[in-house]
Symmetry: C2
Subunit: 81 residues, 2 copies
């Protein structure tokens, strides 16, 4: 009985931080492991995020579904940044 995995992608922006706080606070840790990925610092994960369908950060991926939470920066901006 492993926990399910959710991935939170962000880029350190203020909108990202506010969303990260909420996500870490709201999500049931007994059921989910949350992996937090800073795409600005870990550009090797950008392709993975794009493969999930992430268009902007902050975004949460769960069960191969993407939930963009407000708007901090586009993936293109993260690539260029």
């Amino acid at each position: 009985m492993g926990k399910k995995k959710v991935i939170f992608y962000h880029a350190g922006c203020p909108v990202c931080r506010t969303a990260e706080e909420a996500v870490l606070e709201l999500i049931d840790r007994n059921k989910y492991d949350i992996q937090v990925i800073h795409l600005g610092q870990d550009k090797s994960r950008i392709q993975e995020a794009e493969n999930y369908g992430v268009k902007s950060v902050p975004a949460l991926v769960m069960d191969n579904k993407v939930f963009h939470i407000n708007f901090g920066a586009s993936i293109e901006e993260v690539k260029a940044g």
Copy 2:
């Protein structure tokens, strides 16, 4: 020690339903009570949602902070619908 309240505003759209499933699944019910409001069916709550800063649905409000989750419909469309 009451639970904290979060409000999920939606309008019954497909994007709303997918987000609702995720929200209901992810959020720690031991810590949070989730109120689900269908603004299309309960138009009297639209003003309240706007006061929180909700611009589109689906959206989650927690601690007076608004998290728009993907994009289903604008508040203006919900008013007109």
